[in-house]
Symmetry: C2
Subunit: 209 residues, 2 copies
Amino acid sequence: MSNPSATPARRVSRPAEPAEAVRSTLTPDNWIEAATDVLVSQGIDRVRVDLLAGELGVTRGSFYWHFKDREDLLQRVLQAWRERATEELTHRLGMASADPREQLRDVISLPFRGRSAARAARIELAIRAWARRDGMARQAVDEADSSRIAYIAQIFSSLGFTILEARSRAFLLYSFVVAESQISAPVPAAQRADRARFVERLLLQRVDG
Amino acid sequence: MSNPSATPARRVSRPAEPAEAVRSTLTPDNWIEAATDVLVSQGIDRVRVDLLAGELGVTRGSFYWHFKDREDLLQRVLQAWRERATEELTHRLGMASADPREQLRDVISLPFRGRSAARAARIELAIRAWARRDGMARQAVDEADSSRIAYIAQIFSSLGFTILEARSRAFLLYSFVVAESQISAPVPAAQRADRARFVERLLLQRVDG
């Protein structure tokens, strides 16, 4: 849809590009990344084609080689986020350990993965705030939440919990992962590691009665 | 500091107000509430004195009867949020049931309190996103998180858990409350109620070994 080679008619209807080189060096991903950075640092209202073009040092017109309009760009920002965020969890289903306890430990360790985790958390928070006032963003967030919770529930199911219990445990563990990445109140590293171990033990435990 | 009667000098140095009536009808809280609404619906960058004055139908100058500058207003927005958000939890310490299990149930039920809970969640999310790019907001969020977690930890302590375990349990329960209010992916009401009951039971349970 936004691949120019798939829609040659668009080339003709757009104004001539000043620099042929620009078109070949800037990829759609460059625009998506720049838009995501602005979303995080300045908020969704500042994600504007003219401002992004200025920042990337290209003409406003060159944007339209890759995207239909601003809406199209925003949709691709959400899509890129979803792919990365969900993949982060689910690419482990196939590979990694087949041991569900290992998989669980893997999920719990997600917020502790240094700078890339911190950046991912910033992006996610900005998208969640945006989702409160935009239906398209909200749908993307809801779908990402649902598929991540379903993935974790599957692990608990394979550990022998009933479907209902697996879902509740998955929601609670997902809450923990989201909160660990969002809550920045300073806590000693040892205490953080301790509570991760505690959460693992508690969530693996049967409930009495 | 922003009470005009406490700083009479400011009255003299400001330009004359066009309508004496306006000054007496608009309170600082009106400005704080309007600023909070704009923060949630449009983002922090749109919280500007000129835009707020236009929306409230008063002159820009009348703002300065109550606030030193925009920074002062933003600080009061954060302060108002903190007071409401923390109070929501902690006013129960003194009153309500003295039974810690009842207090725990009370905390768990927080995200289920209808429209006011939904509005509070929207405000909190907007403030968390703002805190990612502003030190003042971040400090307010960190302090609110810390004091709410400490409050919950106190309940677990009074149930006989060690300090370290009470803190871990409190963090996990707080995660659940934050996630319940943030995650909007549709889930049947029965399932939501079920997982709240599950969380209560699990968090009251001793950990083996």
